[in-house]
């Protein structure tokens, strides 16, 4: 299992049966495959569906049923199709129980950055600012480092997505949350030691294993 799948599998343990969940594009979308289908979990996609299903078999696609990345999907029994105002009403109104977002950086204040790298890449925020601000619970799911650089930093130097603090960070090395003292390491991923997390993390954190 590669790093992204390990992260996705760990995030899936956070998903409460019967909840309404939005998964961001990229790494977070892998989480769905680790959630049992009998848990009553509905996945919302911001382009307008609640009850996102798996990819359809080839030759059985509906061009009018896609996910937020534009890929073909199916809908599960009990699904609902909604317009963008309803979709973001759900997101901004606090009706989404959990969102899982990818991130370029997450910092000690719990701010995440995931929508642009000035001068290099400007994909835009899409629905990320609304999700990071409006969902009941926000999990940042990301690889701990990129090209040897820690993505868990004292302060984001990339433009942030929201000033709302994320609730949990899951990386391929560790799981963090936030307490009064700031960023807190609460779990090591299998076969990972505390020293390795310390040496690969730029942000300062307290340990509560």
């Amino acid at each position: 299992m590669d790093a992204k799948d390990r992260i996705a599998q760990r995030v899936a343990q956070e998903i409460v049966p019967g909840s309404l969940v939005n998964l961001g594009i990229g790494l977070p979308s892998l989480v769905a495959s680790y959630v049992a289908t009998d848990q009553g979990v509905y996945f919302q996609s911001e382009n307008g569906v609640i009850g996102l299903g798996s990819r359809p078999p080839e030759g059985m696609e509906d061009p009018d049923l896609t996910d937020a990345g534009g890929g073909f999907v199916t809908a599960v029994p009990g699904a609902a199709a909604i317009d963008s105002a309803m979709s973001f009403g759900l997101i901004r109104g606090g009706h989404i129980d959990l969102t899982v977002l990818g991130a370029l950086q997450v910092d000690s204040a719990g701010h995440l950055a995931n929508w642009m790298i000035p001068g290099m890449l400007t994909p835009g925020m899409g629905g990320a600012m609304d999700l990071a601000t409006g969902a009941k619970r926000v999990i940042a799911a990301l690889q701990h480092q990129t090209r040897g650089q820690s993505k868990i930093v004292n302060r984001c130097d990339l433009p942030i997505t929201s000033t709302r603090q994320v609730d949990l960070i899951v990386t391929d090395l560790a799981v963090f949350d936030y307490c009064d003292a700031g960023l807190r390491l609460i779990e090591l991923m299998p076969e990972i030691g505390l020293d390795e997390v310390g040496s690969k993390t730029q942000a300062s954190f307290v340990v509560a294993l």
Partner: protein, 217 residues
């Protein structure tokens, strides 16, 4: 009752420099035949308001590649490298707006509200130059309504009065944009006789629709 018209005929009313809303999400639920006609017409200097700029060769991506667009107000350009290239070259102005704020600004323009008051974007680059409002101890960002001269929208089915219904995720911004433009041009996949769409199924009432595009030949 409305007589359906061809895409070429419909886009003749769109002048250079118009502000146009275009429905769709990554090209899904986008009026492709209207876009093809707009590209062929050579109409330029457009301001396009849309969720995203799709992909090169698809939906709004065709207008970007053709150089028809001067400014785009949108939430996401990540899947269209052409948009980024033109932006970086200074040939296309890109105003990035959070998706939920974009749809609410369009909706507020369409339903007579003076502003959107939201927490989304507070403390980020989106808030630069905008007013902050404190209400009952909470801070909010004030976002202004977004109007357009024209809305080009896609629907699964219309009747000849102009009532519209939509398909699954092809709804997205379409029913909201139908509220917010001076002139609304709808491109349905099918047009059925009046009375065939159950009133409960109508998502955009005919009163909002000015022109109906004929079925694809």
């Amino acid at each position: 009752m409305k007589r359906s018209i061809s895409p070429d005929y419909a886009i003749e009313i769109i002048p250079d420099g118009a502000r146009i809303m275009i429905g769709g999400f990554m090209g899904v639920g986008t009026p492709e035949r209207l876009i093809d006609a707009l590209v062929a017409s050579g109409t330029g200097n457009l301001t396009v308001i849309a969720n995203d700029t799709a992909l090169p060769g698809k939906g709004i991506g065709k207008l970007i590649t053709a150089g028809s667009v001067r400014k785009v107000i949108t939430s996401h350009i990540g899947l269209n490298p052409e948009t980024q290239r033109l932006m970086n070259a200074g040939k296309l102005e890109v105003d990035l707006v959070p998706q939920g704020t974009l749809v609410e600004c369009i909706r507020s323009a369409g339903v007579g509200l003076g502003a959107v008051v939201t927490k989304t974007g507070l403390g980020t680059a989106v808030a630069e130059g905008k007013q902050i409002l404190e209400l009952e101890g909470q801070l909010y960002l004030i976002e202004l309504p977004i109007h357009a001269d024209f809305a080009l929208i896609a629907a699964r089915q219309a009747d000849y009065v102009g009532n519209l219904e939509y398909a699954l995720t092809a709804q997205n911004f379409n029913p909201i944009m139908a509220l917010a433009a001076e002139t609304v041009i709808a491109e349905p996949d099918h047009i059925v006789p009046v009375g065939m769409i159950p009133p409960d199924a109508v998502r955009t009432p005919a009163a909002l629709v000015d022109h109906l595009i004929e079925r694809a030949k």
